[in-house]
């Protein structure tokens, strides 16, 4: 039987409308704005000045802490300004504005398409390449990859899971790279496997992507013949269920291990990396290519078939430019989302720029997304059945509305992964996650304050 995670989950229609669209190159606009806060942790510090000429792939931001990342210019041009600019939610973040000129790559970057398969033996060199090329997790959290690949002393990776679940409806960028760049992904997995000391390595893909499964299996077979670095890498077919791509759920599905509350995957010997991250690791290590491009899906039920796209974009391109290049926003769209419909962010500012983790421009109509009025909880337990963390959202909602902090913590609100299954499945339209998210923030602050005092 195909594996999946053991607790909860929901089955939204997967709506992978753009699955058949080959990845196309998005043109570069006149101006790009590169955010210094594209990763989890401290924003990078700009290291260029207004008037500087920068090349494609040149460092323009340096990490400002242990959990932080390098930021590179995705274009060649002149720095026009450095300063605060609203991101997609309207929050002011430092951006470097660059007026684009003729593309010229920085020295030392291999821009050819030749696939390099011989993994360097020096792990320190590999980790340095991953760090200096600004690789972060592209599955959603944008956690700096080199940190995740350096387990703290005493902890050992026993399983490396490459996340090809892409469980969010509509998104197809991971699917496309698994079909078009399978070798690069497997080589990236081989590199990470070596750095982690050769743990069991599993590429997890949901069963609604048979072509991706076949393509990845073929790549693994081909490479394992060429080099022992790739032998033993498994492709595991998973039974489709949201949120399979959640780190905790994927570890449960693949390895039947559960991360303890407030713990990290490495505590149970697991490291999870997205397929797009794996490709970025390949680019960084084998090509010395920084993370300056990514793939995103332009989709939605209200978008005509010929305008559905999977695009390779230069990071820092404004969303408005992507929308303009793909024929504009459909008439009946009311919401534009960056990310999937279950966990993605609604964009309030279309002039905001893409970042390393941008995975989609998704249009939703009013009928799809406008919330219906809330009514009484009928205690149907659908939220309890849906919660992949085994929590009781109906109870957390009630406790939160009454401000019962201690009870919220006892009932494990801090374990919530904000996947949205509860709100999605509630027939009474109670904004469960909205309430829980806010209360979880309060509880987390209280927990942190308490542990700081100790």
């Amino acid at each position: 039987m195909k594996k999946t995670f053991s607790i909860g989950g929901v089955h939204p229609n997967d709506s992978k409308i753009s699955a058949g669209c080959r990845i196309e190159m998005l043109p570069v606009p006149q101006t790009v704005y590169i955010s210094m806060a594209q990763h989890l942790g401290a924003p990078a510090t700009p290291v260029v000045s207004v008037g500087d000429r920068v090349k494609t792939g040149q460092v323009i931001g340096e990490p400002a802490g242990f959990i932080s990342a390098f930021v590179h210019s995705s274009v060649t041009g002149t720095v026009k300004s450095i300063g605060p600019r609203p991101d997609l939610a309207g929050n002011k973040v430092t951006h470097v504005e660059i007026a684009v000129e003729e593309d010229e790559w920085a020295e030392g970057i291999d821009t050819s398409e030749t696939v390099v398969r011989e993994i360097p033996r020096d792990n320190a060199f590999i980790l340095d390449r991953i760090k200096s090329n600004g690789v972060v997790g592209l599955g959603g959290a944008t956690f700096p990859t080199h940190v995740k690949l350096s387990p703290p002393p005493g902890k050992k990776a026993e399983i490396l899971i490459i996340n090809g679940a892409e469980c969010e409806p509509y998104l197809t960028s991971d699917y496309r790279i698994m079909i078009e760049k399978p070798e690069q992904i497997v080589i990236g997995a081989g590199i990470m496997k070596q750095v982690l000391g050769g743990p069991r390595t599993v590429i997890g893909i949901e069963d609604n992507k048979p072509e991706a499964i076949a393509s990845m299996q073929a790549a693994v077979e081909k490479l394992s013949v060429l080099s022992p670095s790739y032998s033993g890498i498994e492709v595991m077919v998973l039974k489709k269920k949201y949120p399979q791509g959640g780190e905790k759920q994927l570890i449960d599905a693949v390895a039947r291990r559960q991360v303890k509350s407030m713990g990290l995957p490495i505590d149970v010997g697991a490291v999870v990396q997205n397929v797009a991250t794996s490709m970025a690791v390949y680019d960084a290590v084998m090509k010395n290519r920084p993370l300056i491009t990514n793939t995103l899906t332009v989709t939605g039920d209200c978008l005509p078939a010929e305008r559905q796209k999977n695009l390779l974009f230069r990071i820092g391109v404004p969303f408005s430019f992507i929308i303009e290049q793909t024929g504009g926003m459909p008439e009946n769209a009311v919401k534009v989302i960056s990310g999937g419909p279950m966990m993605g962010k609604a964009i309030s500012n279309l002039d905001a720029t893409t970042v390393k983790g941008s995975s989609s421009v998704l249009y939703l109509t009013a009928a799809q997304t406008v919330r219906r009025p809330e009514s009484n909880c009928i205690r149907c337990a659908k939220c309890v059945e849906a919660c992949p963390m085994g929590l009781e959202p109906y109870l957390l909602n009630k406790l939160a509305r009454n401000g019962m902090m201690e009870e919220l913590e006892q009932n494990a609100i801090q374990d919530c992964i904000e996947c949205g299954c509860c709100l999605y499945s509630c027939p009474a339209n109670i904004p469960l996650l909205d309430v829980i998210r806010v209360a979880k923030g309060d509880v987390m602050r209280a927990i942190r304050a308490r542990s700081a005092k100790k």
């Binding site: 964009i347 309890v384 009781e392 027939p427």
Partner: protein, 319 residues
């Protein structure tokens, strides 16, 4: 340019709503309603009409004029209560008794607690048990009633469980299980046809309105408990198949024990709840003074739901 809607994730929502779920319960009850009308004719139509209309109207009046809130009748839950109450009454019930049942069900058991979602006890069952205690003779008057099919005598005057209580196992030895399965046993409208109820059960499962754990744990408990007793002394205790097919076990286990509001939240809790209902039902049937105990069993277990919700929880991830 379009105006942008901004709200927190998730941005999609299931198509089901409280109203669609409740409407599905009504649809699942239709086979049983049709069988009861065929067998009890115009009287059953009158009872259904009085029950549904008074339940809906009462909820409307109470929300609008007593509580001064927006009416909640569009959620179909009052219709469910109305149909269930009607199916729990004998076909001989006078209209005023049905009305009293509806007033207790909606007025007392549901709206005094705050309406749908807040009530501790299943409203239709509270209505039925109130009538059973207040009007014991009328509530056990099984006819004869002339229906649209067959003649009035085809439906016996007493329920199989009533016969068994009076005359022991010998009194029901001539009854045919196939009759029970189809439609031919005396009792409340909802006790007529096991097949009709099972069709409704399958519909509810297929539409994912309910999960089967509560219903099945009641069936298994009734079957196992009565099986043990029957094996111990078949001359005193009725057999397990008889106990599953007669009385309110099927209607109660499919439509009333699974009531969202008054059943436990977790799977384990639901199973404990079902076992409790099965055990109490059989204890009343074998040793109590009433021939049937499903209503009491469900109401008693309803009162334990808050405790069950505390004691039996789903396993949390990583804990």
């Amino acid at each position: 340019m379009n105006r942008l809607l901004v709200s927190p994730a998730p941005h999609l929502h299931v198509r089901t709503s409280t109203a669609s779920l409740m409407r599905d319960v009504v649809i699942a009850l239709l086979p049983t309603v049709i069988v009861s009308i065929l067998f009890y004719g115009w009287r059953e139509i009158m009872i259904l009409a009085v029950s549904v209309v008074s339940c809906v109207l009462l909820e409307y009046l109470i929300t609008r004029f007593l509580l001064k809130r927006e009416s909640t009748v569009s959620d179909w839950s009052a219709v469910v209560t109305g149909v269930l109450l009607a199916l729990n009454l004998p076909a001989t019930s006078p209209w005023w008794m049905v009305l009293v049942g509806a007033i207790v069900a909606i007025g007392v058991a549901k709206m005094t607690f705050g309406g749908l979602g807040q009530n501790l006890f299943n409203p239709a069952l509270v209505g039925r048990v109130f009538l059973l205690i207040s009007f014991p003779v009328a509530m056990t008057n099984w006819g004869p009633v002339q229906g649209f099919v067959g003649n009035a005598d085809a439906v016996t005057g007493a329920t199989p469980l009533g016969l068994a209580k009076e005359g022991g196992v010998a009194a029901v030895s001539s009854l045919d299980y196939l009759d029970m399965l189809y439609m031919n046993i005396g009792g409340s409208a909802g006790e007529l046809s096991a097949i009709a109820i099972i069709i409704g059960f399958i519909y509810l499962l297929a539409r994912k309105v309910i999960r089967p754990h509560i219903t099945l744990s009641i069936w298994i408990t009734v079957f196992v408990f009565s099986g043990i007793m029957w094996l111990a002394d078949p001359s005193v205790y009725t057999d397990p198949v008889f106990n599953l097919l007669t009385g309110g076990i099927l209607l109660g286990s499919v439509f009333m024990a699974t009531d969202y509001v008054t059943s436990p939240m977790s799977t384990a809790g639901g199973i404990v709840f079902g076992i409790g209902i099965g055990l109490i039902t059989m204890l009343i049937r074998y040793f109590g003074s009433y021939p049937e105990g499903v209503s009491f069993a469900i109401l008693i277990m309803n009162s334990t739901v808050p405790l069950i919700n505390k004691a039996f929880r789903n396993k949390k991830y990583g804990r």
